[in-house]
Structure formats: C-alpha cells, structure tokens
C-alpha cells in the first residue's frame, strides 16, 4: 500500500491586497470542453499509420483536469520486472515521492493486464502474445507540459517503467518520447472530475488550510476581539501562501 506524502508547493508569498479576483470567487464547476488536437499530433499520427479504430483524435479535458490513458505491449519477461519496480516504488517510496514532486497529478495508476477476463460465449477468448501495461493519469495542465515534466523530472523512472514495453524510445529526448505516448494514448469517451476547476496544488493547499483553520477555530474560541485580531493576523500570515 502506498503511503501518501503531502508536500505543499511553496508559492511566492504575496500581500493579500494583490490576490487575483478569481481566488476569492466561490468554487464552481465548468462545462467540459473538448480539446482540439494540435496539428503536430495529427501529423505524427498519419505518419505512423495507425490501424483503424485506435483513437488518436483528441484529449479528454474536464475543467483544468486532463486525462491520459496509455496501453503498451510488454516484452517477454517484462512483467515480473515491472512488478518489482512497482513494489519498490511503493515500499521505497521513491516513485511516490517523485510523483508528489511533480505536483500536478491528482491520481495516476499503472496496471499490468496479463489476461483479458472471460465471460463465456459468445465472447471469444483472447489469446494475446503479450502482457499489456495500462497507465492512466488525472492531472492539471496541458498534455505537452505533462509529458515534458515526466521526461525532465523522472526520465530514469520512465525508462524503468516503459523500458520493458515495445517501441519505447527512452524518456529523453522528449520528442520521440512524446510521439510514443501520443501514439498509444487512447481516446476517452467520457471523463469526469468532481472538482474540475481545482489543480492538485490547490487541493493540497485547501486541505492544509482547512486543517490549520480547525485548529485556529478551537484555539480562538472565547477570545476577546483584541486577542482574536492578533491570532487572526498570525493565522493569515501562516497560511497566506496557500490562500
């Protein structure tokens, strides 16, 4: 089991008077927009000549959240190695810590598909030559920024994970790595987020502020206005960079 480490990204403190207007607006949801695929993506796809039906026509976006879904064939012998990488990632926590460091991933997962579930006829049993590595991520920011960050911050981990997949060009340089992920990025038909307008950093900050506020509330119950005003100023100073 992965133990979560909460690391808050320290933003540059700023005087409250300069808070942007939208930071005080009540939290709200927005309608989903369908991203237009960048031209380079289409060019890449047509060059590679994907077979019919494998999606490549867009990126699922919900508010600030973007979905990525990748499924790649694993080389023979790769699955036990991957299990070891993930086991180490969970227990040594290096992978987890690196993902926290990336700071814009809400949830991500890797799944090893070693067999396709069978439900009896008329389903035909799948006899695949390979195991498949399924990856999904829910992150804020653009697709390009995301892959750039993966490539820059954790190239060796990307190699440890996708190195056992066919066609993986290496985590760096970023160009071929992007092409590879793009080529294998599956089309999402419906994407949902419960808080589409909040970035990962905003969620972490809000949770931290909420916790400190509860302590503040308990501590200041019964304070007279003068004492309260001093405590309030201290509280605001302490959480200012998370507001």
């Amino acid at each position: 089991m992965v133990t979560g480490v909460v690391v808050l990204v320290s933003l540059v403190p700023r005087p409250l008077g300069t808070l942007p207007a939208d930071s005080v607006a009540p939290y709200r949801r927005v309608q989903r927009t369908r991203a237009t695929p960048p031209p380079e993506r289409l060019a890449v796809d047509s060059r590679i000549g994907l077979h019919d039906g494998v999606n490549v026509d867009g990126t699922a976006i919900e508010g600030k959240a973007t979905a990525i879904t990748v499924m790649t064939p694993v080389r023979p012998g790769g699955t036990p190695l991957l299990r070891l990488v993930f086991w180490a990632g969970a227990h040594v926590r290096s992978l987890n810590a690196k993902l926290v460091e990336l700071s814009f991933i809400h949830f991500a997962r890797w799944v090893l598909v070693t067999a396709v579930p069978y439900n009896g006829p008329p389903q035909r049993r799948e006899n695949l030559h390979h195991d498949y590595l399924f990856f999904e991520s829910n992150f804020n920011g653009t697709w390009d920024e995301y892959i750039d960050a993966f490539s820059e911050v954790v190239p060796e981990r990307m190699s440890a994970i996708w190195g056992s997949s066919y066609g993986f060009p290496g985590g760096q340089p970023v160009g071929p790595f992007k092409d590879y992920i793009r080529r294998n990025d599956l089309d999402v038909s419906h994407y949902y987020s419960a808080y589409p307008d909040a970035t990962t950093t905003e969620v972490l900050s809000a949770l931290a502020v909420a916790e400190q506020f509860r302590t503040f509330q308990d501590r200041t119950a019964g304070f007279d206005p003068q004492r309260f005003a001093t405590a309030w100023a201290d509280f605001v100073a302490a959480v200012q960079h998370q507001l």
Binding site: H106, R109, V209
Partner: protein
C-alpha cells in the same frame, strides 16, 4: 497488487462489447452530459473516472508480434472513496438507466434489476492495479470540496478584513463562520 492508497480505491473494469454495438456505445458515452450533470456526479465519492472503448491494441511494429482483440472492450476506471462493494452497489442502484445503456451492450452482463449479479459481473471483470498514486490519499471527495469552499471563504474574509478594527474583524469572523461572539 495495490488497488488502494489510503482510503482511495483504484478500480479498473474491462468488459467485452457485443459485436455491432461498439459505435453505439461510444456515441452514447460521448453524448453523456459532463461536469455536474454527468451521471457520475450522482455517484458520491467519485474523484475522477472515465469510460473508453478499446477497439483494438496498438501495434508497435517489429519485433513485436501483432496482437488483435476478438472484440472491442469497454474500459471503466474510477478513483473513488472507500469500499469497492459499496461503490459498485451504489453504481447499479443510483445509475440503473446508464448502467443498462452502457454495460447492457457488453457480453453476458446482467441487467440493473439484478444488482448482485451486476456487481458480480463487474468484479469478475476487474483488473488489479499494480501501482496507485494519489496526491491526497486520505481526503474524500467531500473533504476536498469542503476544503476548497472553506479556503475560498477564508480568503474572502482575509481580503475584506484588511483595515478593520478588532471589534469589526471579530464580528465579521463570527458572522461568516457562525461562532458565538467572544466572552471578552
């Protein structure tokens, strides 16, 4: 396997789509309303979820041996709060029409009128997660929404309170957060 992280659960279900239903299923999913009107908004505890239809596997070129699926597959993944059994029961109970319109296009899937059978079908087709990452594994959807809302109110008060004298500040705070006035 690592389907959980803190209180969060990573679900992945992969079910075979009946021949001829693939396009209709994709159109149905793409036509679902988004955001707060998504059917998944009615399924409490869902942080992020997605449906996708996998028509076939991507071929990477030699030396990989080409794999082809015998049918299209529906993949559903969700990152949600708490227990799997409760979540799947909520899914079939709260979204029966969508469940039948979506998984009803999959081979041998029971209808929503038989919730136990439907839950059993999804569990049979569940694929375990090898590595699950959550940035905030102990926070439920309700925790996140409440924290975002609280932070917005605190920020608004902090902006408004600049320049207020202690009595006015205390009154504004008490009004905003409904606390009894200080006993002084």
């Amino acid at each position: 396997m690592s389907n959980t992280s803190g209180q969060a659960y990573a679900l992945m279900v992969m079910t075979p789509v009946r021949d001829g239903e693939q396009d209709a299923l994709r159109r149905y999913l793409e036509g679902l309303p988004s955001g707060a009107r998504s059917p998944l908004a009615r399924l409490g505890g869902t942080h992020f979820a997605r449906w996708l239809v996998l028509p076939d596997l991507v071929y990477q070129g030699a030396p990989q041996e080409r794999d082809s699926l015998s049918s299209a597959y529906l993949i559903f993944t969700s990152n949600f709060d708490g227990e799997l059994e409760r979540y799947l029961t909520d899914l079939v109970t709260l979204l029966p029409a969508e469940v039948d319109a979506i998984w009803g296009r999959c081979i041998n899937c029971p209808r929503s009128e038989d919730p136990d059978a439907f839950v059993g079908y999804l569990r049979h087709n569940q694929i375990d997660t090898a590595f699950f990452f959550c940035a905030y594994p102990e926070a439920t959807v309700d925790d996140v929404l409440a924290a975002l809302e609280l932070r917005a109110r605190i920020t608004a008060l902090a902006v408004r309170a600049q320049g207020l004298d202690p009595a006015a500040l205390h009154a504004a705070y008490a009004a905003e957060f409904a606390v009894p006035a200080g006993s002084g």
